[in-house]
Subunit: 220 residues, 2 copies
Protein backbone atom coordinates (compact mmCIF):
# COMPACT_ATOMS: atom_id res chain seq x y z
CA UNK A 1 0.00 0.00 0.00
CA UNK A 2 1.32 3.42 -0.95
CA UNK A 3 2.29 5.82 1.84
CA UNK A 4 0.09 8.50 0.32
CA UNK A 5 -3.53 8.69 -0.81
CA UNK A 6 -3.57 9.32 -4.54
CA UNK A 7 -4.81 12.77 -5.47
CA UNK A 8 -7.96 12.98 -7.55
CA UNK A 9 -10.64 15.56 -8.23
CA UNK A 10 -12.42 14.24 -5.13
CA UNK A 11 -9.77 14.82 -2.47
CA UNK A 12 -7.59 17.51 -4.05
CA UNK A 13 -7.10 20.46 -1.72
CA UNK A 14 -7.84 23.59 -3.73
CA UNK A 15 -7.28 26.43 -1.29
CA UNK A 16 -4.03 26.97 0.65
CA UNK A 17 -2.50 24.05 -1.24
CA UNK A 18 0.80 24.53 0.56
CA UNK A 19 -0.94 23.23 3.69
CA UNK A 20 -2.23 20.06 1.98
CA UNK A 21 -0.92 16.67 3.07
CA UNK A 22 -1.91 13.37 1.51
CA UNK A 23 0.10 10.86 3.50
CA UNK A 24 -1.81 8.17 5.34
CA UNK A 25 0.18 8.64 8.55
CA UNK A 26 -0.89 12.26 8.97
CA UNK A 27 -4.51 11.56 8.04
CA UNK A 28 -4.66 8.61 10.44
CA UNK A 29 -3.08 10.59 13.28
CA UNK A 30 -5.70 13.33 12.93
CA UNK A 31 -8.52 10.78 12.78
CA UNK A 32 -7.16 8.94 15.82
CA UNK A 33 -6.87 11.97 18.07
CA UNK A 34 -10.42 13.27 17.83
CA UNK A 35 -13.61 12.20 19.55
CA UNK A 36 -16.20 12.96 16.88
CA UNK A 37 -16.33 13.26 13.12
CA UNK A 38 -18.73 15.32 11.07
CA UNK A 39 -20.42 13.18 8.45
CA UNK A 40 -22.27 14.60 5.47
CA UNK A 41 -25.05 12.95 3.55
CA UNK A 42 -27.75 13.92 1.11
CA UNK A 43 -31.42 13.72 2.03
CA UNK A 44 -33.99 14.47 -0.67
CA UNK A 45 -31.29 16.35 -2.55
CA UNK A 46 -30.36 18.52 0.45
CA UNK A 47 -27.06 18.37 2.32
CA UNK A 48 -27.14 17.30 5.98
CA UNK A 49 -24.22 17.13 8.42
CA UNK A 50 -24.22 15.11 11.64
CA UNK A 51 -21.56 14.68 14.36
CA UNK A 52 -20.82 11.02 15.04
CA UNK A 53 -18.66 8.85 17.24
CA UNK A 54 -16.29 6.68 15.26
CA UNK A 55 -13.36 4.31 15.35
CA UNK A 56 -10.65 3.43 12.84
CA UNK A 57 -9.26 0.06 11.87
CA UNK A 58 -6.64 0.49 9.13
CA UNK A 59 -8.43 2.02 6.16
CA UNK A 60 -11.90 1.37 7.56
CA UNK A 61 -13.86 3.78 9.72
CA UNK A 62 -16.76 2.52 11.79
CA UNK A 63 -19.63 4.85 12.71
CA UNK A 64 -22.54 3.98 14.91
CA UNK A 65 -25.97 5.23 15.85
CA UNK A 66 -29.37 3.88 16.72
CA UNK A 67 -30.31 1.18 14.22
CA UNK A 68 -33.26 3.24 13.06
CA UNK A 69 -31.39 6.56 13.00
CA UNK A 70 -31.80 8.60 9.84
CA UNK A 71 -28.05 8.85 9.41
CA UNK A 72 -27.63 5.06 9.42
CA UNK A 73 -30.40 4.65 6.86
CA UNK A 74 -29.05 7.42 4.65
CA UNK A 75 -25.41 6.44 4.87
CA UNK A 76 -26.42 2.91 3.94
CA UNK A 77 -28.16 4.25 0.85
CA UNK A 78 -25.51 6.81 -0.07
CA UNK A 79 -22.88 6.18 -2.70
CA UNK A 80 -19.87 8.05 -1.40
CA UNK A 81 -19.88 9.45 2.10
CA UNK A 82 -17.74 12.36 3.25
CA UNK A 83 -16.40 12.88 6.74
CA UNK A 84 -14.27 15.59 8.30
CA UNK A 85 -12.36 15.76 11.57
CA UNK A 86 -10.88 19.12 12.58
CA UNK A 87 -8.91 20.19 15.64
CA UNK A 88 -8.58 23.91 16.16
CA UNK A 89 -5.12 24.42 17.67
CA UNK A 90 -5.14 28.17 18.11
CA UNK A 91 -5.88 31.66 16.91
CA UNK A 92 -3.35 33.35 14.65
CA UNK A 93 -3.29 37.09 15.33
CA UNK A 94 -1.79 38.65 12.21
CA UNK A 95 -1.15 42.32 11.46
CA UNK A 96 -4.20 42.52 9.20
CA UNK A 97 -7.67 40.97 9.28
CA UNK A 98 -6.95 39.36 5.91
CA UNK A 99 -4.01 37.35 7.21
CA UNK A 100 -5.54 36.54 10.59
CA UNK A 101 -6.46 32.88 10.78
CA UNK A 102 -6.31 29.74 12.87
CA UNK A 103 -3.93 26.90 13.37
CA UNK A 104 -5.62 23.57 12.87
CA UNK A 105 -5.32 19.93 11.85
CA UNK A 106 -8.06 18.80 9.53
CA UNK A 107 -8.68 15.51 7.73
CA UNK A 108 -11.32 14.86 5.10
CA UNK A 109 -12.20 11.33 4.04
CA UNK A 110 -14.27 10.06 1.15
CA UNK A 111 -15.42 6.48 1.00
CA UNK A 112 -18.19 4.07 0.30
CA UNK A 113 -20.48 3.25 3.20
CA UNK A 114 -22.03 -0.10 3.94
CA UNK A 115 -24.20 -1.33 6.76
CA UNK A 116 -22.39 -3.78 9.03
CA UNK A 117 -24.58 -6.82 9.49
CA UNK A 118 -24.17 -9.99 11.48
CA UNK A 119 -23.65 -9.98 15.20
CA UNK A 120 -19.93 -10.92 15.10
CA UNK A 121 -18.87 -8.22 12.67
CA UNK A 122 -21.01 -5.68 14.51
CA UNK A 123 -19.47 -6.60 17.87
CA UNK A 124 -15.99 -6.27 16.40
CA UNK A 125 -16.85 -2.83 15.01
CA UNK A 126 -18.38 -1.68 18.29
CA UNK A 127 -15.27 -2.81 20.13
CA UNK A 128 -13.11 -0.78 17.72
CA UNK A 129 -15.24 2.34 18.24
CA UNK A 130 -15.08 1.84 22.01
CA UNK A 131 -11.30 1.34 22.00
CA UNK A 132 -10.80 4.52 19.95
CA UNK A 133 -12.90 6.55 22.37
CA UNK A 134 -12.28 4.92 25.76
CA UNK A 135 -9.16 2.75 25.39
CA UNK A 136 -9.18 -0.36 27.55
CA UNK A 137 -12.75 0.08 28.74
CA UNK A 138 -14.37 -2.62 26.61
CA UNK A 139 -12.69 -5.47 28.50
CA UNK A 140 -13.78 -4.08 31.87
CA UNK A 141 -17.45 -4.04 30.92
CA UNK A 142 -19.99 -6.83 30.87
CA UNK A 143 -20.53 -8.36 27.43
CA UNK A 144 -23.09 -6.51 25.27
CA UNK A 145 -26.53 -8.12 25.25
CA UNK A 146 -27.88 -9.50 21.99
CA UNK A 147 -30.64 -6.92 22.04
CA UNK A 148 -28.20 -4.04 22.54
CA UNK A 149 -26.21 -5.14 19.50
CA UNK A 150 -29.42 -5.51 17.53
CA UNK A 151 -30.56 -1.99 18.42
CA UNK A 152 -27.28 -0.46 17.24
CA UNK A 153 -26.71 0.49 13.63
CA UNK A 154 -23.11 0.31 12.45
CA UNK A 155 -21.73 1.71 9.20
CA UNK A 156 -18.34 0.76 7.76
CA UNK A 157 -16.77 3.44 5.63
CA UNK A 158 -13.85 2.23 3.51
CA UNK A 159 -11.46 5.13 2.93
CA UNK A 160 -11.13 5.58 -0.81
CA UNK A 161 -9.42 8.92 -0.78
CA UNK A 162 -8.46 11.42 1.86
CA UNK A 163 -6.54 14.60 2.47
CA UNK A 164 -5.31 16.55 5.42
CA UNK A 165 -4.70 20.24 5.87
CA UNK A 166 -2.41 21.37 8.64
CA UNK A 167 -1.74 24.96 9.66
CA UNK A 168 0.86 25.68 12.32
CA UNK A 169 3.07 28.49 13.50
CA UNK A 170 3.10 32.24 13.33
CA UNK A 171 1.16 34.63 11.08
CA UNK A 172 2.40 35.32 7.58
CA UNK A 173 1.91 39.00 6.99
CA UNK A 174 2.30 41.26 3.97
CA UNK A 175 5.82 42.66 3.79
CA UNK A 176 4.64 46.22 4.40
CA UNK A 177 2.60 45.23 7.44
CA UNK A 178 5.61 44.17 9.53
CA UNK A 179 6.30 47.87 10.06
CA UNK A 180 2.97 48.37 11.85
CA UNK A 181 3.48 48.65 15.64
CA UNK A 182 0.86 46.08 16.59
CA UNK A 183 1.23 42.86 18.53
CA UNK A 184 1.05 39.68 16.45
CA UNK A 185 1.37 36.04 17.41
CA UNK A 186 -0.54 32.93 18.32
CA UNK A 187 -2.97 32.01 21.08
CA UNK A 188 -2.96 28.20 21.39
CA UNK A 189 -6.21 26.36 22.11
CA UNK A 190 -5.84 23.17 24.08
CA UNK A 191 -8.37 20.34 24.38
CA UNK A 192 -7.61 18.44 27.53
CA UNK A 193 -9.33 15.90 29.71
CA UNK A 194 -9.57 17.08 33.31
CA UNK A 195 -10.26 14.85 36.34
CA UNK A 196 -12.62 11.93 36.75
CA UNK A 197 -15.96 12.59 38.44
CA UNK A 198 -17.58 9.57 40.07
CA UNK A 199 -21.22 8.65 39.64
CA UNK A 200 -23.28 9.05 42.86
CA UNK A 201 -24.51 5.51 42.56
CA UNK A 202 -21.11 3.79 42.70
CA UNK A 203 -20.79 0.72 44.87
CA UNK A 204 -18.72 1.60 47.95
CA UNK A 205 -15.01 1.17 47.49
CA UNK A 206 -15.08 0.83 43.70
CA UNK A 207 -12.29 2.85 42.11
CA UNK A 208 -11.49 3.70 38.49
CA UNK A 209 -9.10 1.27 36.83
CA UNK A 210 -5.65 2.25 35.61
CA UNK A 211 -6.78 2.44 31.97
CA UNK A 212 -9.54 4.87 32.89
CA UNK A 213 -7.28 6.88 35.19
CA UNK A 214 -4.64 7.16 32.45
CA UNK A 215 -7.07 9.31 30.42
CA UNK A 216 -6.97 12.12 33.02
CA UNK A 217 -5.06 15.22 31.85
CA UNK A 218 -4.66 13.73 28.37
CA UNK A 219 -4.38 16.36 25.62
CA UNK A 220 -6.06 15.72 22.27
Amino acid sequence: MSDDYSVSKQNKVRQLREKAVYDRKTVHAILDSAMIAHVAFVEDGHPVVVPMLYGRDGETLFLHGARKARVIRLLKGTGTACLNVTHVDGLVYARSAFNSSMNYRSATVFGSARLVEGSDEKLRALRIISECTMPGRWDELRAPLANEVKMTGVIALEIESASAKVATGMPEDEDDDYAIPIWAGVLPLESKFTTLQSDDRLIDGVEPSDVVRSMEKKIL
Copy 2:
Protein backbone atom coordinates in the same frame (compact mmCIF):
# COMPACT_ATOMS: atom_id res chain seq x y z
CA MET B 1 -40.03 36.64 17.05
CA SER B 2 -40.81 33.41 18.85
CA ASP B 3 -38.37 32.19 21.53
CA ASP B 4 -38.20 28.80 19.83
CA TYR B 5 -37.49 27.61 16.31
CA SER B 6 -40.57 25.88 14.99
CA VAL B 7 -40.18 22.15 14.60
CA SER B 8 -40.50 20.72 11.11
CA LYS B 9 -39.38 17.60 9.29
CA GLN B 10 -36.13 19.43 8.57
CA ASN B 11 -34.93 20.20 12.09
CA LYS B 12 -36.79 17.63 14.18
CA VAL B 13 -34.42 15.66 16.40
CA ARG B 14 -35.25 12.00 15.91
CA GLN B 15 -32.85 10.19 18.22
CA LEU B 16 -32.54 10.88 21.96
CA ARG B 17 -35.43 13.31 21.67
CA GLU B 18 -35.29 14.03 25.39
CA LYS B 19 -32.02 15.87 24.72
CA ALA B 20 -33.51 18.06 21.99
CA VAL B 21 -33.81 21.81 22.50
CA TYR B 22 -35.33 24.24 20.05
CA ASP B 23 -34.99 27.56 21.82
CA ARG B 24 -33.03 30.26 20.05
CA LYS B 25 -31.05 31.17 23.17
CA THR B 26 -29.52 27.71 23.51
CA VAL B 27 -28.81 27.40 19.78
CA HIS B 28 -27.22 30.86 19.70
CA ALA B 29 -25.08 30.17 22.77
CA ILE B 30 -23.68 27.01 21.19
CA LEU B 31 -23.01 28.81 17.92
CA ASP B 32 -21.33 31.70 19.73
CA SER B 33 -18.95 29.61 21.78
CA ALA B 34 -17.28 27.64 18.99
CA MET B 35 -14.52 28.57 16.56
CA ILE B 36 -15.52 26.55 13.51
CA ALA B 37 -18.68 25.12 12.00
CA HIS B 38 -18.98 22.11 9.74
CA VAL B 39 -20.89 23.01 6.61
CA ALA B 40 -22.37 20.43 4.26
CA PHE B 41 -23.08 20.87 0.59
CA VAL B 42 -23.79 18.71 -2.42
CA GLU B 43 -21.33 18.48 -5.31
CA ASP B 44 -22.37 16.49 -8.37
CA GLY B 45 -24.88 14.67 -6.20
CA HIS B 46 -22.30 13.74 -3.56
CA PRO B 47 -22.21 15.06 0.01
CA VAL B 48 -19.20 17.15 1.05
CA VAL B 49 -18.44 18.59 4.49
CA VAL B 50 -16.02 21.45 5.12
CA PRO B 51 -14.95 23.17 8.38
CA MET B 52 -15.39 26.94 8.18
CA LEU B 53 -14.87 30.03 10.26
CA TYR B 54 -18.07 31.92 10.90
CA GLY B 55 -19.77 34.71 12.75
CA ARG B 56 -23.36 35.29 13.88
CA ASP B 57 -25.48 38.42 13.68
CA GLY B 58 -28.96 37.69 15.01
CA GLU B 59 -30.45 35.02 12.76
CA THR B 60 -27.77 35.40 10.09
CA LEU B 61 -24.55 33.42 9.97
CA PHE B 62 -21.66 34.67 7.86
CA LEU B 63 -19.12 32.24 6.44
CA HIS B 64 -16.04 33.18 4.50
CA GLY B 65 -13.41 31.63 2.27
CA ALA B 66 -11.36 32.52 -0.76
CA ARG B 67 -13.60 34.11 -3.39
CA LYS B 68 -12.88 31.27 -5.79
CA ALA B 69 -13.15 28.51 -3.18
CA ARG B 70 -15.33 25.58 -4.14
CA VAL B 71 -17.38 25.91 -0.98
CA ILE B 72 -18.27 29.53 -1.75
CA ARG B 73 -19.31 28.63 -5.29
CA LEU B 74 -21.33 25.64 -4.14
CA LEU B 75 -22.99 27.31 -1.19
CA LYS B 76 -23.99 30.12 -3.49
CA GLY B 77 -25.63 27.62 -5.81
CA THR B 78 -27.17 25.46 -3.09
CA GLY B 79 -30.77 25.74 -2.01
CA THR B 80 -30.67 24.95 1.69
CA ALA B 81 -27.34 24.68 3.46
CA CYS B 82 -26.78 22.72 6.66
CA LEU B 83 -24.28 23.54 9.34
CA ASN B 84 -23.37 21.88 12.62
CA VAL B 85 -21.37 23.05 15.61
CA THR B 86 -20.53 20.52 18.31
CA HIS B 87 -18.56 20.81 21.54
CA VAL B 88 -17.55 17.54 23.15
CA ASP B 89 -17.74 18.18 26.91
CA GLY B 90 -16.62 14.81 28.20
CA LEU B 91 -16.68 11.04 28.13
CA VAL B 92 -19.47 9.25 29.97
CA TYR B 93 -18.20 5.98 31.41
CA ALA B 94 -21.31 3.86 31.95
CA ARG B 95 -21.55 0.33 33.34
CA SER B 96 -22.09 -1.12 29.86
CA ALA B 97 -20.72 -0.29 26.41
CA PHE B 98 -24.28 0.32 25.23
CA ASN B 99 -24.88 3.16 27.70
CA SER B 100 -21.40 4.65 27.44
CA SER B 101 -21.51 7.95 25.61
CA MET B 102 -20.36 11.54 25.60
CA ASN B 103 -21.54 14.79 27.02
CA TYR B 104 -21.84 17.43 24.35
CA ARG B 105 -23.54 20.58 23.12
CA SER B 106 -24.51 20.42 19.47
CA ALA B 107 -26.43 22.84 17.25
CA THR B 108 -27.64 22.15 13.71
CA VAL B 109 -28.82 24.96 11.48
CA PHE B 110 -30.63 24.88 8.16
CA GLY B 111 -30.91 27.96 6.01
CA SER B 112 -30.71 29.48 2.61
CA ALA B 113 -27.29 30.68 1.51
CA ARG B 114 -26.59 33.74 -0.57
CA LEU B 115 -23.37 35.34 -1.73
CA VAL B 116 -22.69 38.66 -0.02
CA GLU B 117 -21.85 41.22 -2.67
CA GLY B 118 -20.89 44.85 -2.50
CA SER B 119 -17.92 46.05 -0.58
CA ASP B 120 -19.85 47.63 2.32
CA GLU B 121 -21.95 44.57 3.12
CA LYS B 122 -18.90 42.35 2.75
CA LEU B 123 -16.87 44.53 5.12
CA ARG B 124 -19.66 44.43 7.66
CA ALA B 125 -19.84 40.63 7.42
CA LEU B 126 -16.06 40.26 7.73
CA ARG B 127 -16.11 42.45 10.80
CA ILE B 128 -18.79 40.24 12.36
CA ILE B 129 -16.79 37.08 11.65
CA SER B 130 -13.68 38.73 13.12
CA GLU B 131 -15.52 39.90 16.25
CA CYS B 132 -16.93 36.42 16.85
CA THR B 133 -13.49 34.84 16.58
CA MET B 134 -11.11 37.49 17.94
CA PRO B 135 -13.26 40.00 19.86
CA GLY B 136 -11.94 43.57 19.74
CA ARG B 137 -9.21 42.83 17.25
CA TRP B 138 -10.84 44.40 14.16
CA ASP B 139 -10.50 47.95 15.51
CA GLU B 140 -6.80 47.45 16.29
CA LEU B 141 -5.95 46.43 12.74
CA ARG B 142 -5.35 48.55 9.66
CA ALA B 143 -8.38 48.82 7.38
CA PRO B 144 -8.75 45.96 4.89
CA LEU B 145 -7.50 46.82 1.39
CA ALA B 146 -9.97 46.87 -1.48
CA ASN B 147 -8.18 43.94 -3.06
CA GLU B 148 -8.33 41.87 0.13
CA VAL B 149 -12.08 42.37 0.34
CA LYS B 150 -12.40 41.51 -3.34
CA MET B 151 -10.45 38.26 -2.92
CA THR B 152 -12.68 37.11 -0.06
CA GLY B 153 -15.90 35.24 -0.69
CA VAL B 154 -18.61 35.73 1.94
CA ILE B 155 -21.79 33.70 2.30
CA ALA B 156 -24.77 34.79 4.38
CA LEU B 157 -26.84 31.95 5.75
CA GLU B 158 -30.24 32.99 7.07
CA ILE B 159 -31.29 30.56 9.81
CA GLU B 160 -34.61 29.06 8.75
CA SER B 161 -34.73 26.27 11.27
CA ALA B 162 -32.41 24.92 13.89
CA SER B 163 -32.15 22.50 16.76
CA ALA B 164 -29.78 21.80 19.59
CA LYS B 165 -28.98 18.61 21.40
CA VAL B 166 -27.40 18.82 24.82
CA ALA B 167 -26.13 15.89 26.88
CA THR B 168 -24.88 16.52 30.41
CA GLY B 169 -24.32 14.67 33.62
CA MET B 170 -23.79 11.11 34.71
CA PRO B 171 -24.41 7.82 32.88
CA GLU B 172 -27.87 6.36 32.78
CA ASP B 173 -27.46 2.65 33.23
CA GLU B 174 -29.82 -0.29 33.09
CA ASP B 175 -31.34 -1.01 36.50
CA ASP B 176 -29.58 -4.37 36.79
CA ASP B 177 -26.19 -2.90 35.91
CA TYR B 178 -25.96 -0.72 39.02
CA ALA B 179 -25.10 -3.89 40.95
CA ILE B 180 -21.92 -4.44 38.90
CA PRO B 181 -18.82 -3.46 40.91
CA ILE B 182 -17.29 -1.25 38.23
CA TRP B 183 -16.40 2.41 38.34
CA ALA B 184 -18.72 4.73 36.39
CA GLY B 185 -18.72 8.46 35.95
CA VAL B 186 -17.64 11.29 33.72
CA LEU B 187 -14.31 12.52 32.40
CA PRO B 188 -14.77 16.18 31.38
CA LEU B 189 -13.01 17.49 28.27
CA GLU B 190 -12.06 21.16 28.41
CA SER B 191 -11.18 23.41 25.47
CA LYS B 192 -9.16 26.29 26.79
CA PHE B 193 -6.94 29.00 25.38
CA THR B 194 -3.49 28.92 26.95
CA THR B 195 -0.97 31.79 26.86
CA LEU B 196 -0.07 34.21 24.06
CA GLN B 197 3.05 33.45 22.03
CA SER B 198 4.65 36.47 20.34
CA ASP B 199 5.75 36.50 16.72
CA ASP B 200 9.56 36.71 16.32
CA ARG B 201 9.21 39.70 14.06
CA LEU B 202 7.43 41.98 16.55
CA ILE B 203 8.62 45.57 16.75
CA ASP B 204 10.54 46.06 20.01
CA GLY B 205 8.34 47.04 22.93
CA VAL B 206 5.01 46.21 21.29
CA GLU B 207 2.73 44.37 23.71
CA PRO B 208 -0.63 42.63 23.23
CA SER B 209 -3.62 44.87 23.93
CA ASP B 210 -6.07 44.23 26.75
CA VAL B 211 -8.68 42.74 24.40
CA VAL B 212 -6.16 40.23 23.10
CA ARG B 213 -4.84 39.45 26.58
CA SER B 214 -8.36 38.86 27.87
CA MET B 215 -8.60 35.79 25.63
CA GLU B 216 -5.87 33.97 27.57
CA LYS B 217 -7.16 31.08 29.72
CA LYS B 218 -10.65 31.49 28.27
CA ILE B 219 -12.68 28.27 28.24
CA LEU B 220 -14.93 27.53 25.26
